[in-house]
């Protein structure tokens, strides 16, 4: 029983780890682009903004299990198979990119527009603004967003277990649901609870300590993400 569980545990972390990396690599630029192309943004382009926004919305509202099935051919094209942990990474990452991009957008929008203006007044270009202002200033929120994404991906990966991805979700389905081995199912639940708690704690800690370095007080950054963006991009007269 133990090798079975440790293998499943490892598989879950493997899938979640890689899909998180891909989600961050893909979602970060996408989220920043959503802010920059918006009305009043540095690269204002209403059409591009609408198109990207729409793609992100559709991809985000797609139930993950359907996305997984819909992407089967694509997955096979990339990994050569639709079964196993490698194959699961493809839909997991594609599902997580728009999810993360929206969180990035919210985080980046909270950066004070005055800072952008200051860097522009020093002769900085858009890339300087992104590198020196938008990313560093929203870093605590970005880390909190990554934590949220990891936790969501653990949930998705369990779903992926139902169609042959392996991992803890797979164990819970096969042993707990199909073979009534309640004990094993409860163990997977406990492991998941522990894993999620550890990740959440680590993420919160990292975000908060970064925040503290800046010396700002206030609510934990994770909570700030829930607040609707109130940043106005309207022009001052």
């Amino acid at each position: 029983m133990q090798p079975l569980l440790s293998q499943a545990c490892w598989d879950t972390l493997y899938m979640v780890g890689w899909s998180t990396v891909i989600a961050v690599v893909g979602g970060l630029p996408l989220g920043i682009l959503l802010v920059l192309t918006d009305r009043g943004g540095l690269l204002q382009n209403v059409l591009a903004n609408k198109v990207i926004g729409q793609i992100v919305n559709v991809a985000r509202s797609m139930p993950f299990i359907i996305l997984m099935v819909a992407l089967m051919n694509f997955t096979r094209w990339i990994t050569g198979t639709t079964i196993g942990r490698e194959a699961a990474i493809v839909p997991l990452a594609i599902g997580a990119i728009p999810f993360f991009a929206r969180l990035v957008e919210t985080a980046v929008r909270e950066v004070d527009g005055g800072l952008v203006e200051a860097v522009q007044s020093m002769g900085g270009n858009t890339w300087t603004v992104v590198r020196k202002v938008l990313v560093p200033e929203s870093l605590p929120s970005l880390i909190a967003s990554t934590t949220t994404t990891i936790v969501a991906l653990i949930g998705y990966s369990a779903m992926a277990g139902t169609v042959g991805a392996g991992g803890l979700g797979d164990i819970a389905i096969r042993y707990g649901y199909q073979r009534f081995e309640t004990e094993l199912m409860w163990i997977t639940v406990a492991i998941l609870a522990v894993v999620i708690s550890v990740i959440q704690f680590a993420g919160d800690y990292a975000a908060r300590s970064l925040h503290r370095r800046g010396g700002r007080s206030g609510p934990a950054p994770r909570l700030r993400l829930l607040k609707a963006s109130t940043a106005t991009t309207g022009e001052t007269v």
Binding site: L42, L43, Q44, D112, G114, L115, E117, A118, V119, Q120, S121, M122, G123, G124, N125, T126, T128, K132, V133, P136, E137, L139, L210, R213, G214, G215, R216, G234, E235, T236, V237
Partner: protein, 344 residues
Amino acid sequence: MITTTGLTKVYRSRGREVTALDGVDLHVREGEVYGVIGQSGAGKSSLIRCVNLLERPTAGTVTVDGRDLTALAGRGSRAGKELRQARSRIGMVFQHFNLLSTRTVQDNVELPLEILGTSGKERSRKALELLDLVGLADKAKAYPAQLSGGQKQRVGIARALAGDPKVLLSDEATSALDPETTRSILQLLRDLNRQLGLTVLLITHEMDVVKTICDSAALMEQGRIVESGTVSELLATPGSELAAALFPVGGEASGDDRTVLDVTFHGEAATQPVISQLSRTYNIDISILGAAIDTVGGLQIGRMRIELPGRYEDNVVPIGFLREQGLQIDVLGQEPVLAKEGAK
């Protein structure tokens, strides 16, 4: 040093048009502190942002240090290389400081140098030198959140000076500070203006700021400059709104058949006993309603509001006498002659 001609900025949003700047001609001489004052919504903010083209003017030109920035800007909305280079030679300080919270004070001051591509060693040398100049050498490793408002603005000023600018734009730099701190920041700006020969263009809604440090001033209303000139010119301008606001004297007429005059003394005239001469020569009783002496723009100025018996028509001769003594006389309730032309 800074010249704008016919500067116009129109904002369009949802079919509505708002004219923030309506043909502004501004001329700031090299080495002076120039204050633009006006209420919020008068267009001051748009004006200062048009000077370094953070806002693109709809029409008109901006020339800073002999370079036509509007020509450098190009057609697109993004700033090209040449414009960005020109901007790096124009320092700017902001009302809310706009310091990066994740960087130390020193790293904040180094930011413009990073953008300019200065080497790391040179950057830190320069940053420490500038922090010393603004009196914050001991705070180099602190984060902005650990500083007071006045200290933050000092960091903002040090940062604005990092690119060795000839021109400093100040966007309400003291409006978020208490009166005590405001004075010390204005003093710092004044010192920098003198030591480095820095030309300063500042916008403010506080008359005190203009009074404390400005050599010249302009009054803005509804996107236009309605008065401008050096402070002494303004004070010598009959009916100047700016002069009256810079140097208010109170007091109401005590009856209908009275003439109220604002008498402004400067230079030689201040030493003459004109009021008693007036009283003796014409045998009239003069009441003083209000008076003040102050230093405006480094100039000793006296202002007095006096009341003469009888209507304006009865007092033409005494008023003529006062004018002959070289005093500037504003008669309350009378249209000042040539006031607006004189102010321009």
